[in-house]
């Protein structure tokens, strides 16, 4: 086996034991690693019982996986998955963390956490040897304070090398907030999916990994070295604007030109605040540019610092998604305000997208008089950083109105609709439990297509959009391959280069059709688990839809009046089902399962018919 070790490290937190699980090469060839491997392992373990698995019970496995391209392809991503407390399916969340490299340097392709601890603990893995240690001294901490204290704890408690990377949760994860992320390196988050809450349910504060070995051997090291050097140069050249400005480039560009940026809970998608741009951030907050992750030639990050009310707020960029969701979506158009809220989200261990979405939902309800001052305890106002920071903390600690909002937009809308006796789901900008990423579809100018979110097996995830052609870099098959490889979407060039890379690493000699079939296989199996769903929500053909607001005309900007058309979406939906080999209800057909080598999962289809 080349490029992978063929084994995972499984830790049983309840029993305090660990063991190695062998994974045959055939499984890697079918699912690669990361998101694909997680989907396969979960489907095989739970099958029809998936419906009854509560994502927030310790029974939900939490998987930290790498893939064959980890450590060889420029850049690094660690895949984080399990049953999502947002979508009740598998979400392939990724975070830039060197834990991925250290796992592979330990002789394992991934780490699976099962069961849970009674008391707060952290997991330390050195060369595959697992220790489950007391974390009571760092429980409750987040951000820089956690990083400093955990570094010292690792040194004192387990004599760890100073170069020991870790992933962790903040207070939000501890409190099982459904919008909590698994955090890394201060400002990095595996946000989509809500796996911070899954980690919190296991009472695992952090996972630190150190490996002293080399990465697994590859099939063709010499040509891989050549390929590596040329890829580095090509990626650097292609992404040089990100080197300079990061994704913060989109903060003004996406709003002003593309008109696809969330403004005030998506009531608008256009803005023209020139100071709210990469230049505004550079002048007001950037102290270091560029900043890169392991092996990455893009370097899209910039270290930002803002002082506000006597406190120091430190974060990355913020990147476009954060600037949009914790900026314009909340009516905040000042770089400093966006840095303060982004840094606070990092510190609390919240996903900025999911949390910024539910906060926008709450402010809109307040403005409309549906939520009252009595219920909230203070005034909610667009653009008021002070009240927004307070709301964010209330969500992380599940205080007051935060208790409902901590359930995420989909569940909060359901709960508040029941309470108020009116349908509030029309203000919820989410698909299948996942808040929509900050790239709108109404103007038609941004990359997502009209069915991108409606048909994604990861709901509103803007890093896993469905699209036509179904075997292309526009398709969800492509995104699922990136999350399974595991590679960063900002370092990839095109499908043939990635395939060449994969073949040089593994020696599989796949062609482009087989390559895309890997992606089709992954999303087909994810689709089955999504449709099985449970226990507190499940989805059917009617949920393969956009948020209602996307059918309303844009009120401002150059694309004023533009909206999605119901007939067009329905038409594309039918076409997509047919091309994916799914029936008219979007259920994968037996024949499709056979073609993709997923016959063993055919009995699960009975639950859907």
């Amino acid at each position: 086996m080349k490029g992978v070790w063929g084994r995972l490290l499984e830790v049983d937190l309840t029993a305090g034991t660990s063991r190695s699980i062998e994974i045959p090469e055939k499984v890697y060839r079918m699912f690669l690693g990361g998101r694909g491997l997680a989907t396969y392992l979960l489907a095989r373990e739970f099958r029809e019982k998936w419906r009854f698995l509560d994502p927030l019970s310790p029974d939900n496995p939490l998987l930290f996986l790498t893939g064959p391209l980890t450590g060889y392809y420029p850049g690094v991503k660690l895949s984080v998955s399990g049953k999502s407390p947002q979508s009740n399916s598998v979400i392939g969340s990724v975070v830039s963390s060197e834990v991925a490299i250290e796992l592979k340097a330990s002789g394992f392709d991934g780490l699976v956490l099962k069961g849970g601890c009674e008391k707060p603990c952290y997991v330390y893995v050195e060369n595959g040897k697992v220790e489950i240690r007391d974390a009571s001294s760092i429980w409750g901490l987040g951000g820089l304070q956690l990083i400093k204290q955990f570094n010292s704890l690792l040194k004192e408690d387990v004599k760890a090398d100073p170069k020991t990377p870790f992933v962790y949760i903040g207070p939000a994860g501890e409190n099982k907030v459904r919008t909590a992320a698994v955090m890394a390196k201060l400002a990095h988050a595996a946000g989509y999916g809500g796996y911070g809450a899954v980690m919190g349910a296991k009472r695992v504060k952090a996972v630190a990994v150190k490996g002293y070995g080399s990465l697994p051997p590859v099939d063709d090291p010499e040509s891989l070295n050549t390929l590596f050097r040329s890829a580095l140069g090509n990626i650097k050249e292609r992404m040089k604007r990100f080197r300079q400005w990061g994704t913060t480039e989109g903060t003004w560009h996406t709003g002003y030109y593309l008109s696809s940026m969330p403004v005030k809970n998506w009531s608008e998608e256009w803005h023209n605040v020139k100071d709210f741009s990469h230049v505004g951030f550079e002048l007001e907050t950037w102290v270091k540019n560029p900043w890169a992750d392991w092996g990455c030639p893009v370097a899209c990050m910039k270290l930002s610092i803002a002082k506000w009310k006597g406190e120091v707020f430190i974060t990355d960029n913020p990147d476009y998604e954060m600037a949009a969701y914790l900026g314009s979506n909340l009516g905040v158009f000042s770089p400093r305000g966006a840095v303060v809220l982004s840094s606070l989200a990092d510190e609390l261990g919240l996903c900025g997208i999911q949390t910024g979405n539910v906060m926008g939902f709450a402010v809109e309800l307040y403005e409309k008089g549906i939520l009252t001052r009595d219920e909230v305890g203070y005034e909610l106002k667009w653009g008021n950083v002070e009240c927004l920071a307070r709301l964010m903390k209330d969500i992380a600690y599940r205080r007051g109105i935060g208790e409902v909002l901590a359930e995420g937009t989909f569940r909060a809308a359901r709960l508040l609709s029941e309470k108020k006796g009116v349908d509030l789901t029309k203000y919820a900008i989410q698909v299948k439990g996942i808040a929509v990423g900050a790239h709108g579809v109404r103007s038609g100018k941004d990359y997502p297509q009209p069915i991108s979110y409606a048909l994604s097996v990861q709901g509103g995830d803007h890093t896993s959009v469905a699209g036509f052609p179904v075997n292309s870099t526009e398709s969800e098959a492509w995104y699922s391959i990136l999350d399974s490889g595991v590679v960063c979407m900002f370092t990839v060039l095109d499908d043939s280069t990635l395939l060449e890379y994969l073949n040089k690493v593994t020696g599989w000699g796949l062609d482009l059709g087989e390559f895309y079939d890997i992606g089709r296989r992954i999303i087909t199996l994810q689709r089955i688990l999504l449709l099985i769903g449970g226990p507190d929500a499940d989805w059917s053909v009617k949920d393969d839809d956009n948020p209602p607001r996307f059918y309303e005309p844009l009120p401002t900007g150059p694309y004023k009046g533009s909206a999605l058309k119901r007939e067009e979406v329905d038409e594309l939906k039918k076409k997509y089902y047919a091309e994916m080999g799914w029936d008219e209800k979007g259920i994968p057909s037996e024949e499709t399962l056979r073609r993709l080598g997923l016959e063993e999962f055919t009995p699960m289809l009975n639950m859907l018919h």
């Binding site: 450590g71 060889y72 490299i101 340097a105 060369n127 820089l144 990083i147 400093k148 570094n151 100073p162 170069k163 390196k185 201060l186 400002a187 490996g211 002293y212 070995g213 080399s214 990465l215 051997p217 090291p221 070295n225 580095l232 140069g233 650097k236 080197r243 102290v287 270091k288 560029p290 900043w291 890169a292 992750d293 392991w294 092996g295 990455c296 030639p297 370097a299 990050m301 270290l303 610092i305 120091v312 430190i314 990355d316």
Partner: protein, 160 residues
């Protein structure tokens, strides 16, 4: 020479170093280490080729010597991994790595360091090869990564 402020912490130098010396991606076997204890504020750590080479003189087995570029050379047959050089080094730079039969110390790639090359190719130039200045000045770089990290943080957030 190293410039912390230009380092992006991409660690491509570690990858290039292990590819050159070990023929594989093996971050722990890199002769240069980037410590990112405070995210975004990396500390570069590698051999500075001291004038008095305390590592060389400390070795009880005469396994260490110096080369024409001032680099420290390790005789793999003589090294017993006793660790004396690690303690003799003011920066604790030599490394004993599991799976390696001798201690690892930067050998400047015989005058053309891969780390410097890749750092330049990436456009950072955080690492540059210069002629060694006289005296002890280079030893000032041998501050512990922890101390250096906290100083960089204090500077970044403007603390006294």
């Amino acid at each position: 020479m190293r410039d912390f402020s230009k380092c992006s912490s991409c660690k491509l130098c570690e990858i290039a170093c292990s590819l050159k010396h070990e023929g594989m991606v093996w971050p722990e076997a890199s002769r240069i280490r980037i410590y990112e204890l405070i995210p975004g504020l990396p500390v570069i750590s590698t051999c500075v080729q001291c004038d008095d080479y305390p590592c060389v003189s400390s070795c009880p087995f005469q396994a260490l010597s110096t080369g024409e570029h001032g680099q420290v050379l390790v005789d793999e047959n003589k090294c017993t991994l006793c660790g004396t050089c690690v303690y003799a080094c003011p920066g604790k730079i030599p490394r004993i790595v599991r799976g390696k039969q001798s201690v690892i110390i930067c050998d400047l790639c015989n005058g053309e360091p891969e780390c410097v090359k890749i750092c330049g190719e990436m456009g950072y130039h955080a690492l540059q090869l210069v002629n060694k200045p006289d005296g002890e000045i280079v030893k000032n770089y041998l501050i512990s990564p922890e101390d250096a990290s906290f100083k960089l943080l204090a500077k970044a957030i403007g603390e006294e």
